[in-house]
Symmetry: C2
Subunit: 216 residues, 2 copies
DNA sequence: GACTGCGGTTACCGGTAGTAACATGCGTGC
DNA sequence: GCACGCATGTTACTACCGGTAACCGCAGTC
């Protein structure tokens, strides 16, 4: 079975390359048609037909997962760099927020695809995974940020748990505010970054009550 | 055309009632099958066939919007009550967080449906609404909370903008952390509420650096 | 020259959203 | 009494989706 080693190698290399080509074609279609790009459309863009896609990626969610992994890895790398770019904690937070917002601003279609990678088939039949609504991207961001917080900030005993909670909260805040901002553009990116950092710095707790506000 | 007033009224009333019945049937199916409940299944549950559904609701997203409105209204009412239930601001925030989390904990299927009401067809053809990924529920929650903050907390000049930013950030935090918590259940609800409130109260800014952490 | 493996195709399956066209029962005008 | 709207309901269809089975043709090998 070793008589065709070099040929096997060629085949392997060309298969990987083919896969990369297909992913790039899929990328173009998703960028154009959004998250509901069809397998037919992707195959057509790649100049082939459906069954080949299925041979390479198994099913639609497989293709989408491969596609999402590429972009997610890129965004994660950018965020890690932002976290390490400065030494002051406040600056660090602002840089991270700004990097995320700049990314979703620059390529909103990609961002949208990452958040809704496919409504994803008919997974577990029973109970259909009650949680798990959030995109994998946000989970990964939360876990990564949780690690960073846990290892750099002293939160006392049980700080690991707390770090994860805060991390997922912060990621959610970033996502929620970012999505709203992207839709309405009510202010500049810098303004949004500063405001969110202020919020995290306890802005809500130190502000004064409104004169006529009830109860306070 | 006024000769049939009473009859018209009867028709109208019965049409509204029919609509309500259909929504209840749809509710049962969505609760059972999740967000990808089909129109056929809903029609069958209601004891009728598809075209009637379409006559009442236009299309699938119309039905889903009507369904979502009901639940959203309910949740919003509960949250408003929570906001008004106490006078201390910190308590208010904790009550609000807890009410939201209790709701998604009690009926995760409904929650999940509200967050993914239908991946929503092929709306605007071109550009497909770059933002607008977030569920309408979250938008509404953000706007409502923004109003409450703006009218009760004195944020100085331009405070209205800031209130909206903070509101959408807080809602995002609640949603992100809540979704993660619902999936992994890493701690009690009370613990999560306290931790998130601590985060909003500036916990991240006042914590000490870890001894060996780089840069700080 | 027959054989085999692999990239590629056509043609299909089951199920989805959505629609057209036909049927049927009820109250009203003449 | 009877034809007319008119709303309610049905069956039967289109068009498309994800996914698959079966076949086709061409490399390279024995």
């Amino acid at each position: 079975m070793e008589t065709t080693t070099t040929h096997q190698g060629d085949q392997q290399r060309s298969a990987d390359q083919r896969r990369r080509e297909l992913l790039e074609a899929a990328d173009r279609v998703v960028l154009r048609d959004g998250p509901q790009a069809s397998m037919n459309a992707i195959a057509a863009e790649a100049g082939i037909t459906k069954p080949i896609l299925y041979r390479h990626f198994g099913d639609k969610s497989g293709l989408y997962r491969a596609l999402a992994k590429r972009h997610t890895d890129g965004l994660l790398a950018a965020l890690r760099a932002a976290i390490d770019a400065s030494s002051d904690r406040r600056e660090r937070v602002e840089h991270t927020l700004d990097t995320y917002l700049a990314a979703i601003e620059a390529r909103p279609q990609v961002y949208r695809f990452l958040m809704h990678p496919a409504e994803d088939s008919h997974q577990s039949e029973q109970g259909f995974d009650v949680g798990r609504h959030t995109a994998p991207l946000l989970r990964r961001l939360g876990e990564e940020l949780g690690k960073v917080i846990a290892e750099r900030v002293d939160l006392g005993p049980g700080g690991g748990e707390l770090a994860r909670i805060w991390a997922h909260g912060i990621v959610g805040m970033m996502h929620g505010a970012g999505d709203w901002w992207l839709g309405e553009r009510p202010c500049s990116r810098a303004q949004l970054v500063r405001s969110l950092a202020d919020l995290l710095w306890g802005g809500l707790s130190v502000a004064e009550d409104r004169p006529g506000s009830p109860g306070f």
